[in-house]
């Protein structure tokens, strides 16, 4: 057998190569052309690091390791094969699993070292376990809301922020006491239990439309807790992977909060979903113009340039494949069809892109918000499918609106706007949308999937005449 020194060196070398592969993996994610190579690099790095770790001299018992690796694979495969519409809840669930792993390892490490844990180690261990625990329950709650096992609507009560922050602050104080007095081992369960409670409380006031920000934030927490675990175990690979994940989640959270015009501190303190209930009262009945599928079809078929704006409603009604048929039918007639995608459309960052890609819509037709906004002035028809607040011109014009200042897709600058919507109910934020009362807007009332289906039939049926 190898000497202990040689085996440790070998493990370190596998970790070093894995680190390089992980960084390359993320670098290759920058473009769809190289992204799959990125996945392979990640997989190879992972395989190498796990294989290297199995050489660790201290390992005395391989049969439980093997059983755990097999069981994890058995659970992981179906989680890798969920439908694309279930990706947000799957992602939340995987944040929970990651956080569970980190919390369990941290807990075991504490009891192995207690009662003499050096202060710096206790500090990072405290961070690891607090972030891990709150991410665990927080992510489970988020997954429950996304899967609609739990009520999606935000639940708020007076003093909520005070209670929530109070729980977290007590957990942090207990962790500080443990840093100063690690011999008070009996205090340890508190830095697991209190953050577990905080995780639940944190998600209770969150509504569906805030999910993109929350998932990104939980992603960041999961990464930071893994990095803290790397500090405890003195494992550089883990520190780097955790830092990369933490940075990724952080960037996405900042993007999402910018796209909703919330300050980052507003996001950090979990004070989402506060603004609603203010509006929705002034729902006076104003005249809207509605149109049939037939009329919509003839306008679309006569257009030169159409921009489709999808929102969560498209995902709910599973309309993406019908949208693809519409895209085909119009493209065949020489209409230039593109998609304008708001960063927070859907339930997680990039949600709409994945659904449209699933329906085989080429990604070069998917435009980011800024590009789309440069295009609307030359657009004949903007077709809004299941999106509401992200197209609300009040965000530009009405300083009293709760979403004032939020960047939106300027669909109202197109020559004609069509909105497919089930009814006249207000969007998530409970805000009336003046777009619907504009004279260039046609409301198409109905379920997104069946309505788009009828438009496609009209267009294809009418071809040749």
């Amino acid at each position: 057998m190898m000497s202990e020194f040689a085996s440790t060196q070998l493990i370190e070398v596998t970790y070093l190569i894995a680190t390089a592969l992980f960084i390359l993996s993320l670098k290759w994610m920058s473009s769809p052309a190289t992204a799959r190579r990125g996945v392979w690099a990640g997989e190879f790095g992972m395989l190498l690091a796990v294989a290297g770790t199995l050489l660790h001299r201290g390992i005395v018992d391989y049969k439980w390791l093997a059983a755990a690796l097999v069981l994890g694979t058995i659970i992981g495969v179906p989680l890798g094969k969920v439908a694309m519409t279930a990706v947000p809840q799957r992602t939340a669930l995987s944040h929970a699993f990651g956080a569970l792993c980190v919390t369990l390892v941290g807990t075991a490490e504490f009891y192995l070292r207690a009662p003499s844990v050096p202060p710096f180690m206790m500090a990072v261990l405290g961070m690891e376990v607090i972030l891990g625990s709150l991410t665990f329950t927080g992510s489970l709650m988020a997954a429950g809301k996304l899967q609609e096992v739990l009520p999606q609507r935000p639940i708020t009560y007076k003093g909520q922020n005070f209670v929530n922050l109070g729980v977290l602050v007590i957990a942090v104080i207990v962790a500080i006491i443990l840093v100063l007095h690690p011999e008070r081992v009996y205090l340890y369960p508190l830095i697991v239990i209190l953050p577990l409670i905080f995780g639940v409380l944190m998600i209770i006031p969150i509504g569906g439309a805030d999910m993109p920000t929350v998932i990104s934030l939980l992603n960041s927490y999961a990464g930071l807790s893994a990095a803290a675990m790397g500090f405890v175990l003195d494992n550089k690979l883990l520190i780097i992977a955790g830092a990369l994940d933490g940075a990724s989640g952080f960037i996405l959270s900042v993007n999402m909060s910018k796209a909703m015009n919330r300050s980052f501190s507003n996001v950090l303190f979990g004070a989402f979903g506060q603004e609603q209930a203010s509006a929705a009262a002034g729902a006076e009945t104003r005249a809207v113009r509605s149109a049939s599928a037939e009329e919509a079809a003839s306008i679309l078929a006569a257009a030169n340039k159409v921009v489709i704006v999808p929102g969560y409603g498209m995902a709910v009604s599973q309309a993406q494949h019908k949208v693809r048929e519409l895209y085909d039918a119009l493209t065949k007639r020489g209409v230039d069809v593109r998609f304008g995608i708001h960063p927070v459309a859907g339930r997680m960052p990039g949600h709409m892109n994945v659904l449209l890609a699933e329906a085989d819509i080429p990604y070069d037709k998917l435009m980011e918000m800024d590009d789309a906004n440069g295009d609307f002035a030359q657009t004949d028809v903007a077709l809004v499918i299941g999106a509401n607040d992200v197209t609300n011109p009040a965000a530009r014009t009405d300083a009293s609106s709760p979403i004032y200042g939020m960047p939106i897709l300027d669909v109202d600058k197109a020559r004609t706007v069509m909105v497919i919507k089930r009814g006249m109910s207000a969007g998530f934020a409970g805000i009336d949308n003046p777009l619907y009362y504009s004279d260039k807007t046609l409301m198409l009332f109905g379920d997104a999937k069946s309505f788009v289906g009828s438009i496609v039939r009209e267009i294809s049926g009418g071809s040749g005449h």
């Binding site: 050096p118 955790g242 990724s248």
Partner: protein, 98 residues
């Protein structure tokens, strides 16, 4: 001991900067697969769990370590699988016609 932690802090800081620079360049088009990929990479925590479970210092640590391996492995397998599935779907309209 103290020096080790300092080195770790340097590593963390540098990795954080690399993370920012690399991830800022990821197109918003791919933000969903990005999240599932970083999630899979993050499950490298499995190496800590393997050592914990394998060393079997106490029954308690071995049990927690084993559960942790299951959780992390399911993230590795599920995360890479779904990322690859999603990326396979992204196609260009360009030259190749089918």
């Amino acid at each position: 001991m103290k020096l080790d932690f300092l080195t770790s802090l340097y590593v963390f800081m540098l990795a954080g900067f690399i993370g920012f620079e690399v991830i800022r360049r990821v197109s918003p088009l791919l933000h969903t697969p990005l999240m599932s990929l970083t999630n899979a990479l993050d499950a490298i925590a499995v190496v800590g769990a393997i050592i914990l479970a394998g060393e079997h210092k106490t029954n308690f640590s071995a049990i927690l370590g084993t559960i942790a391996i299951v959780a992390a492995t399911s993230n590795i397998v599920g995360g890479f699988l779904i990322t690859d599935r999603m990326l396979k779907m992204f196609k260009v309209s360009g030259p190749k016609k089918s």
